[in-house]
Amino acid sequence: MKKALKIFRKEIKEIIKNRSIWLPILAVSFLFSIAFPAILTIAVEDIVKDPDTAGFIAKFFGASTNVYESMIQFMIKQFIIFLLLIPAMLPSLIAPASIVLEKESNTLEPLLATPIKTSELLLGKTLTSMVPSLVISTTNFILITIVVDVFAYIKIGITPLPTWEWVIAAFILSPVISFIITMISIIVSSKSTDIRSAQGIGAVIIFPIYAIIGFQIAGFFMLNIKYLLVGCLVLVAICPLLLKLAIKVFDRENILTKWKMK
């Protein structure tokens, strides 16, 4: 564990110095946890004046005595999915950089020649990928709660967050998604020859989340607690399989010999 933490501490310092990783994430976080929720909550009365919007909301929430509350609930469901982009995006940026850059800069071989176990190295890389993701994602969920509750209370006297969906998304789905994307990124990076292809493949991995966002906005379905729990069960079931595969692929010989040295 000590060696894994050593790797984690060193890499976190490097990530903090790397603006190309954290600036886009901060921008996305600001937009989806502060800016959009604030704007839409403040403008909720104007939004529901549109008859099409009101009809759309009624389709999912039924005829409601409080259409503003229904609209806010609808927005919250969208934002939860958007916020799940963070625990997906960040590992897909960090994990490939963490491994492929080691290969490209020829530091992987000397590192593997130390007494560190492959599992310790894998754990260190996983922590590097997951910890910032979870910190930022949890912060985002807290921020959105504050923003939405403050403005919703001012406008219509309600504090809609947190909800059970919020709790599942923040404390179960977020870490699970972060873990899955980290494992997939590690598996892909172990076989990749350059950082662009590793990160490119990582970007493709988070397509399912974009798809869910799209389907929800288009009104094909609405995330509720049932869907979230089923999603959690499926994803949690995948985790041990991915971990096993990552351990198998993240093997000294594999990553040294199946990649051509420059």
Partner: protein, 303 residues
């Protein structure tokens, strides 16, 4: 210290290392030579437990490489052919990071880092980012990294590549001094002069082992010996006499020197000297020039 038995490594259908066996004693410098693609780096990777052999055994300091990889990695230092450093952190931080994996006491680590940075004239740049270092400086830092935990065995792949003559000399002197510290050195190099000056044993490989011996033995066992005769006068006078010996090959004359090769000099040398003296020559020196490692190596590789 290092015992290798029937070591083979295949990558698909390619046999990179073909059934090699050798021993390296403690405190010796073992020169490991071969052309490009001979299997040197693959052998080095197997010895440092980075990859597993297809067949065969490696025992290092009494420990099996397959079973005790972690222990072996704790007692070895590795300098790869293209050593990389973390460019976004300083020289000191690089050494501190890597040495932290060996379980060394923090105070001892600080002492070692300072020792090796000073030894390689990098102490003044200890807080500089490695990205600002020249190639030679990075090479020296990589060597410091391989040494900082005081390994019992040092695997060096082209340690003086990219170094200026002064630094290369310093590194070679240091490698030689490691014998006194009971460190065993496994040296892969294309620099045959370096291998010749440093190695106690030389092993020449081309997938299989071609030869493994001391330099003295290699020189003694070389069939063709190089003979030099220094005359008092111009050597051109005696060219016809020398040509009467069909066994003489590669005859070259320069001013008052004649150099040639021949097999069985013990039998022919007295006859050559007698013929020359009987014909009035005054011989100043009659030497056997020991074959250089380069000549021996090239002969063996071509065979």
């Amino acid at each position: 210290m290092i015992h290798v038995e029937n070591l083979t490594k295949k990558f698909g259908n390619i046999i990179a290392v073909d059934n090699i066996s050798f021993n390296v004693e403690e405190s010796k410098i073992f020169g490991f030579l071969g052309p490009n693609g001979a299997g040197k780096t693959t052998t080095l990777r197997m010895l440092s437990t980075l990859i597993q052999p297809t067949n065969g055994h490696i025992v290092i300091n009494g420990h099996d490489c397959k079973k005790d990889g972690e222990y072996i990695r704790s007692i070895i230092g590795l300098l790869t052919e293209t050593p990389g450093m973390y460019e976004k952190i300083s020289a000191y931080e690089n050494l501190n990071y890597f040495s932290g994996f060996y379980g060394i006491d923090e105070q001892k680590r600080k002492v070692n880092i300072e020792r090796f940075l000073k030894m390689f004239d990098l102490w003044d740049r200890k807080d500089s980012l490695v990205s600002t270092f020249s190639k030679g400086m990075k090479q020296k830092l990589a060597l410091a990294r391989a040494l900082v935990h005081e390994p019992k065995i040092l695997f060096l792949d082209e340690p003086t590549a990219a170094l200026d003559p002064e630094s290369a000399h310093m590194v070679r002197t240091f490698i030689e001094s490691l014998k006194n510290e009971r460190t065993t050195v496994f040296l892969c190099t294309h620099n045959l002069e370096e291998a010749s000056n440093l190695s106690d044993i030389v092993c020449i490989i081309k997938s299989k082992i071609i030869k493994i011996s001391t330099l003295d033995e290699l020189q003694k066992n070389k069939k063709e010996k190089k003979i030099e005769i220094v005359f008092k006068e111009n050597a051109q006078k005696y060219i016809d006499l020398l040509k009467t010996f069909k066994e003489i090959a590669s005859l070259a004359l320069k001013e008052n020197k004649a150099v040639f090769t021949l097999e069985d000099p013990e039998i022919l040398n007295p006859k050559i000297i007698k013929l020359l003296v009987d014909n009035g020559s005054e011989i100043v020196y009659f030497n056997e020039i020991k074959a250089s490692l380069e000549e021996i190596y090239l002969d063996l590789i071509r065979e």
